[in-house]
């Protein structure tokens, strides 16, 4: 008798989370919330948790779009499509066959049976052989390879039922966003900063962004670029708030008051001062930047030392030791690269001095700043910040509504 099978649930493994002791519950709740949020568009599915595992019950829903969504959720280590059958040998055999036949691009396989329910009459070793032989007999072109199989047919005989999984799909790893506090990301519009934000999110950090806008030197499209980048980052989270700082007046003032070779250093210091003020106002405990050591003048060891002086908030620099090529690779993966290379000026590319100091000194910069009463400008900039919220729920441009 031939039975009809389909993958009826997805098994979610969360690796690292299992280690988190007392916090585990908090982490798991957050992970479940995040999954639930991302799968809102699939009303039929249900998320279930039992000891040490999480399942997405499909209830007839096509698994592929769900897997695609889950691949972007941090905290998920790996996923597998699974079939649930009753603890009967014939059922297990045929479901195993279905799983093998539906594994993509596999030529070699291995069977791994775990018998949790000891009342099941056949032992796991014997089951391995039995099932392996059955699969070989009923398929063509597959070979057994116990050391490096393309696919492992996992059979878990539990008390309630037997679960059969095959392909292990790699998840995004990391920790669920929202379990490691909040950081303020300096988002310029370049290639690096969105990648930095992504990596912090992967570590469970929730991100808010700050952007320095200098109209008319920077255009609305430069601002739009930052909004679009932030929107891309919401694919890994939920909502993202952007603090857009009106920077024109202060920036112009800097380039009037400060010798050209130090203007860039001072500008970066002002950005950190403003960012710190935003952190204070919004209970954010750290800053994140896309700085990578040695990339440009402002990112030498000396520059970091001099610029960092103005804040004692932790500055997280997840890209600090990375090569540009590797950063670009990630930016392509997370779909921000094409936005980042749009050719609009941002506040870091205008007013670029001909010969910026690559080794600025703290005492020098402090001397220059001493004669420059910049505090009121900082205050004004902070006060006039415009807040924009983007979310992963499709935000249509309302302006054009009547045209569609």
């Amino acid at each position: 008798m031939l039975m009809e099978f389909e993958f009826d649930h997805i098994l979610i493994r969360y690796g690292e989370l299992a280690l988190k002791g007392k916090n585990q519950k908090h982490f798991l709740n957050k992970l479940q919330q995040n999954i639930q949020h991302k799968l809102k568009g699939f009303p039929n599915i249900k998320i279930k948790r039992t000891r040490g595992r999480m399942f997405i019950m499909l209830h007839g829903q096509d698994p592929q779009p769900i897997i695609d969504k889950c691949k972007n959720i941090f905290g998920i280590h790996s996923l597998s499509l699974a079939i649930k059958v009753s603890n009967e040998l014939e059922q297990i055999k045929q479901a195993g066959l279905f799983a093998l036949e539906n594994s993509i691009q596999a030529k070699t396989f291995k069977v791994a049976v775990r018998r949790v329910d000891k009342t099941f009459p056949t032992g796991s070793q014997e089951m391995n052989q039995l099932l392996g032989a059955y699969l070989l007999k009923h398929t063509s072109g597959f070979k057994v390879d116990v050391h490096q199989p393309d696919v492992e047919i996992n059979v878990e005989i539990r008390v309630d039922a037997t679960y059969i999984t095959s392909d292990v799909i790699k998840g995004a790893g990391g920790l669920p966003v929202g379990t490691s506090g909040k950081s303020l990301l300096l988002l310029s519009g370049g290639i690096d900063s969105p990648v930095a934000g992504y990596l912090m999110m992967k570590r469970g950090v929730e991100i808010e962004a700050i952007h320095f806008h200098s109209p008319p030197f920077t255009s609305d499209r430069a601002k739009q670029k930052v909004i679009d980048l932030a929107e891309k980052l919401t694919a890994f989270g939920h909502r993202l708030k952007i603090h857009v700082v009106p920077f024109t007046t202060l920036q112009q003032k800097i380039f009037q008051e400060i010798p050209e070779s130090y203007a860039m250093t001072v500008m970066r210091r002002m950005m950190f001062r403003i960012s710190e003020a935003v952190c204070e106002n919004h209970q954010i405990l750290s800053l994140t930047t896309g700085e990578s050591l040695g990339q440009v003048a402002s990112q030498t060891m000396e520059s970091m030392h001099t610029i960092n002086e103005v804040t004692n908030y932790p500055i997280l620099r997840p890209l600090v030791a990375m090569d540009k090529q590797d950063i670009i690779k990630i930016s392509k993966q997370i779909d921000t690269y094409d936005i980042s290379i749009r050719p609009y000026e941002d506040c870091c590319t205008i007013f670029v001095p001909k010969a910026p100091k690559t080794k600025p000194k703290r005492e020098k910069v402090n001397q220059f700043e001493a004669d420059f009463a910049f505090e009121p400008f900082i205050e004004e900039a902070v006060q006039k910040i415009q807040k924009i919220v983007v979310s992963d729920e499709q935000s249509e441009d309302k302006r054009f509504d009547d045209l569609f």
Binding site: S219, Q224, D397, F404
Partner: protein, 379 residues
């Protein structure tokens, strides 16, 4: 007037025209221009992309706006052929494709590509198994239409797509110019890599189409130039066209939801009434798309019938408009195993959601009268 040639083209919806005019009036700047007007046009184009993506259930960056269904099919097929020819030069398609696919494949043969044309059964349907069996190590592309433009047969696209999952390097193209808005198809669930639609078949304007391109698939562009069209289709974007096409897509999807059953009923009525006429052979299989009805009247020249109907303001066509200028012989009807008499006397009636039962009645009634008269003269 009774217009029954909706598979050739449709009458533009007034809202679509209005949208086109509004965009042309207020957002005419070049989306690539740096000034705010350009920025606004760029945003509008992006919104159109997002809307189209939402309707097709794909990603915005997977939408390429084209100028026609023919362009979409050419870009898909030549684009894959030229880009991936180092991997192989074998392409699989069916013998009932639209000329924009069929003739493109014939042209590629001249460039050294090898094309396998899979036959269809008597219902005009291709077998997924035969397609899979034709796959070789050097196969780079499989192109199968969703709904045939002459007889309305529906191809098992989803099943083909599912079979192709085992061949991740074979790119799968579907021409859905006739099916979109009439026969539902889920692009992602059917594992389609390239997918063509056209605006003027769904009450949009001529000169607009979309090619969906799965984000990992790479194409060799037909046009080189600026960075428009995700880098695959250079040329200043037709923002008004893109926006109005998206509107047409939304409207036809609403109609599909609302009136698909109704269209099936009309189609059924048409079949029943045609079957009653002596000498009529129906070429459209059961379970076909609800808007196309193809039939033959052996012994009567189709052109004569079309002109006779037109003199009473009823408009139908012979086979597809794109090939009907050559001769009356239908490659598609012949491919379904019909004899030459049937293949040279095929006529096509194609419906829209706006058709009424009265129009069908009038058409049948008029046709009966004309046939009797013509048979009197010719017989």
């Amino acid at each position: 007037m009774i217009y029954l040639d909706n598979s050739a083209t449709t009458k533009p919806h007034p809202d679509v025209l209005h949208s086109f005019q509004q965009v042309s009036t207020s957002f005419y700047a070049n989306p690539s221009s740096i000034h705010p007007l350009g920025g606004e046009a760029e945003q509008l184009l992006l919104t159109a992309k997002k809307q189209a993506a939402k309707i097709l259930r794909v990603l915005p960056e997977e939408i390429i706006f084209t100028a026609s269904g023919t362009e979409g099919n050419n870009l898909a097929i030549k684009g894959v052929a030229l880009e991936h020819q180092k991997r192989g030069k074998h392409i699989i398609t069916t013998i009932i494709e639209h000329p924009s696919v069929y003739n493109t494949c014939l042209a590629l043969e001249k460039l050294g590509f090898e094309i396998t044309y899979i036959p269809v059964n008597q219902d005009g349907i291709v077998s997924p198994e035969m397609i899979e069996q034709a796959i070789r190590d050097d196969t780079i592309l499989i192109s199968v239409m969703h709904v045939n433009n002459e007889i309305g047969s529906i191809q098992p696209v989803q099943e083909i797509g599912e079979r192709l999952r085992k061949y991740p390097k074979v790119i799968f193209h579907v021409d859905d110019v006739q099916g979109f808005g009439k026969v539902p198809l889920n692009i992602k669930e059917s594992h389609i890599d390239l997918y063509t639609i056209s605006a003027h078949k769904i009450h949009g304007l001529k000169g607009n189409g979309i090619l969906y391109k799965q984000s990992r698939v790479s194409l060799f562009p037909l046009f080189h130039g600026g960075e428009q069209g995700e880098g695959f289709r250079a040329g200043t974007e037709n923002v008004a066209g893109a926006v109005s096409m998206t509107k047409a897509m939304r409207l036809i999807k609403e109609k599909e939801k609302e009136k698909n059953r109704y269209l099936f009923q009309l189609h059924q009525l048409l079949r029943q009434e045609l079957e009653k006429i002596e000498g009529v052979f129906i070429n459209t299989p059961k379970n076909a798309a609800p808007h196309i009805m193809n039939f033959s009247l052996p012994g009567l020249k189709p052109e004569v019938l079309i002109h006779a109907l037109a003199s009473e303001e009823i408009y139908i066509s012979t086979k597809s408009a794109c090939s009907s200028k050559q001769s009356d012989y239908s490659r598609i009807v012949a491919a379904c195993g019909k004899d030459d008499e049937n293949a040279t006397s095929a006529l096509r009636v194609s419906l829209s959601y706006e058709q009424t039962k009265e129009e069908i009645d009038t058409f049948i009634h008029t046709m009966k009268r004309i046939i009797t008269k013509l048979r009197g003269i010719m017989g």
